[in-house]
Amino acid sequence: MSTVRKYMMRTMNSVCEEDSIEDVIRVMNKIEMSVLPVVDDENKFLGTIYSRNLLKNIIPEQYGFLESHRLLYQVNQAAENLAEIKDRKVKEYMSNNTTAVKENDKMDNIADIMLDNKESYLYVVNNDNKLRGYISRADLLYYLLEVGENQQ
């Protein structure tokens, strides 16, 4: 039976609760990810921070979220709002109720968890709840492709 360990991305890219929002945005931009895991100073997984959450907090509510007819002044307003919050801490904007999976979990169980949580990424931890990487929907689909090929 295949486990998460075989398909996961083994990366420790992460931020801490005390890091600033600006740090988060810079890391997201460099590694081309719109979500990051949040860990403590021993790499214990605490939750996640999503770019979508940050955007919700800076885009003026009356114009809706990411509408195509947004005008320039609305963008300027969002930039101003971001300037106001960029020094704030990750802990103010992170989600604590994020599900993590274990390295030795069966791949067959991942689909359920991903669909239940509407997550495109699930963070992977070891038995001590310490971050070890992530697994994506693309990894799950790749696994299913392999299962199908093996059945033929």
Binding site: T11, M12, V27, K30, D41
Partner: protein, 316 residues
């Protein structure tokens, strides 16, 4: 977990041509003639450790730009956990052009990579939490522009605060300063400058002087490359020479990294025995030097060569 540190990695690009002709276009049509791989002393040791069966090996360091993402993917292909600080500047590329007839080897070593002050701060934070679960820590290789010479000293200090020993493979001023933190094992490399502790190393006496001086300045144990051998400086002041016998050298590439990885492997399996760990490590280096491969395949290929390694005490 095992942690290796590579602050100045590079993407190695090897091009194999029939003849290296300056001022002319060359066309490479087959995959066989192009090899692209992640490079860096600590990283190559990490790959060896994965091949020896360690499931949890991480590599910490800087990588840069979009090519850095490509580099990270290549490293993950080896099953290594990546723990990188991404910089604005693009990662280095080392270009090797290898010609078959006549046999030539042309190397363009790219030293254009630069790290910003904020990146160094991020690395120190990441390193501090990254080593919490590490049983072994190896800090290895050169440092990029923008990083202070005292960086290894700082990293070793963090390891010591966490009660962890360090295996240091370094050269130049960054090594000189790191000694102040008294790393447990030091392996100097110096073939690019021929200097250790700012002194030219020419004859046998210079090697002995350098090993002793490294210990005097803080290293507990020193393993000094010495032509095809190694000089081993034990904690109690004894000096040994490790030499391979009955061997046929085919390839130096990867031998040093195999040595470092096998040293860890021995200590992990049997505990810290300086001479026996070196004997095992020497066998690993010999196994690579006698094959065309640059990575160890398994422990069997090391054990096969241990009888070819001799260690004798020197009267110095």
């Amino acid at each position: 977990m095992i942690t290796t540190v590579t602050l100045n990695p590079a993407i190695d690009r090897e091009y194999f041509v029939q003849e290296n002709k300056p001022k002319s276009h060359q066309y490479l049509y087959t995959e066989r003639d192009i090899k692209v791989s992640p490079g860096g002393k600590g990283l190559l040791s990490a790959i060896n450790l994965r091949k020896l069966g360690y499931s949890d090996v991480q590599n910490i360091g800087f990588v840069g730009g979009r090519q850095g993402l490509f580099f990270e993917k290549m490293v993950q292909e080896h099953g290594i956990t990546t723990n990188y600080i991404f910089t604005e500047s693009e990662i280095r590329n080392n270009i090797f052009v290898i010609s078959r007839d006549p046999v030539t080897y042309t190397h363009y070593n790219d030293y254009s990579y630069k790290v910003e002050h904020g990146d160094v701060k991020s690395l120190i934070k990441r390193f501090r939490r990254g080593i919490i679960d590490s049983d072994f820590i190896m800090i290895s290789g050169s440092i990029p522009e923008g990083v202070n010479f005292s960086i290894y000293q700082r990293l070793i200090q963090i390891c010591h605060e966490a009660g962890k020993d360090v295996y240091l493979h370094a050269s130049g001023e960054v090594l000189n300063r790191a000694l102040e933190e008294q790393p447990k094992v030091v392996v100097p490399y110096f073939k690019h400058t021929n200097k250790i502790l700012d002194k030219k190393i020419v004859n046998d006496e210079d090697y002995i002087w350098a090993g002793k001086k490294l210990q005097e300045n803080g290293a507990k144990y020193v393993m000094m490359p010495f032509h095809c051998s190694r000089l081993l400086f034990d904690k109690n002041g004894d000096v040994y020479q490790l030499t391979p016998r009955d061997f046929c050298l085919r390839n130096w590439l990867g031998a040093g990294e195999a040595y470092n990885a096998a040293f860890f492997d021995y200590v992990y399996q049997y505990g810290f025995d300086f001479l026996e760990a070196n004997k095992y490590a020497g066998a690993a280096a010999l196994a690579i030097a006698e094959s065309k491969e640059i990575f160890l395949a398994d422990r069997a290929m090391i054990k096969e060569k241990t009888d070819n390694i001799i260690i004798k005490k020197l009267g110095v």
